[in-house]
Symmetry: C2
Subunit: 193 residues, 2 copies
């Protein structure tokens, strides 16, 4: 599974064989079964997680038991709980495998070593952070200004692959619309087609 | 107004006199009158903006004319339109002064020079980006899972100063709740007190 990560990272940054060896020496890998957890609320997040295979979700559970999905993470994406990883405070989210998954893990210390030793990797992470920030602003804009229909259309267009792999109630939870509303929208669209 | 920026940045990063001189030589300053714009939708964003005095808002206007506020930026905060600044694509948002304001501006090229020459400044920007990302995830979580009452309470607690400086309909637009709902909540809370 590490090969998947190496293929990804060499597509994003120009790295020497020595640099790739160093990164490899600081990574660890793990298989996670469907419905198993990489992080639970209240734990201190120990890793930045690269998904080599499978699909994860990050979600928050409110006191009333309602689940709110922050993020889906399919293959070739990163995920973590930034606050917990960098400030060592208890995580407010769970990270769960929605499918049997394979992940590559980096501790905060490993990442710092890599950033310090490999400017090309650091530059990639900077680009990645900026683009992630743009996407989260985009999502805030969507949350604020899109109708439920538009949110649904946007999700299908932006994450066609994820859409086909998760149950509808999770899509509803990610979009912040009720399951009933989403079912109604799907039904209306199916009739149009 | 540049002194305000220098006081801020030296509270965030340990910089030498030479480094401060370099940063100063690459900055420009501007006064913006209330209701005037630093950026309009469709323009290419040219600057990262530090607010030395006053208050800005970043907002998006939909085709139906509705305004959606992405961000309030009071003194000692940064703002920009990342996508437009870094990818040189037309901005989707407006940045407007809600009060007479004073700002310190950096072009993308200036920032790159500063990052390259001053690792301490770059480290500060990295911390800042990570913390901004956490705050935006926090806001997404709030958008998804908070009731209108909770959103309102959270806003008053998190931005007490901004709350007293902007009209209620802008708070409503920021929170993604209707003006009527927010008026009802305020009224109910005033009666409780």
């Amino acid at each position: 599974m590490y090969e998947q990560f190496e293929a990804y990272i060499t597509s994003q940054a120009t790295l020497t064989q020595d640099e790739l060896r160093m990164i490899r020496s600081l990574a660890s890998t793990r298989r996670v079964r469907k419905r198993h957890f990489l992080l639970r609320e209240g734990e201190i997040c120990q890793h930045k997680i690269f998904v080599a295979k499978g699909l994860l979700r990050s979600y928050h559970v409110r006191e009333d038991g309602s689940e709110h999905i922050m993020r889906f993470s399919p293959e070739n994406t990163w995920t973590t709980e930034h606050d917990s990883l960098f400030s060592q405070i208890p995580s407010r989210i769970h990270i769960e495998a929605l499918e049997d998954s394979e992940v590559v893990l980096f501790t905060r210390e490993s990442l710092e070593k890599i950033h310090f030793a490999i400017p090309e990797f650091k530059a990639y992470i900077d680009r990645f952070l900026t683009s992630t920030l743009s996407q989260t602003y985009e999502r805030i804009m969507m949350n604020l200004s899109y109708s439920s229909e538009e949110k649904y259309q946007d999700f299908i267009t932006t994450f066609p692959d994820v859409f086909n792999r998760v149950p509808l109630h999770m899509v509803a939870s990610y979009l912040g619309v009720s399951r009933e509303t989403l079912s109604r929208i799907r039904h209306a669209q199916a009739q149009k087609e």
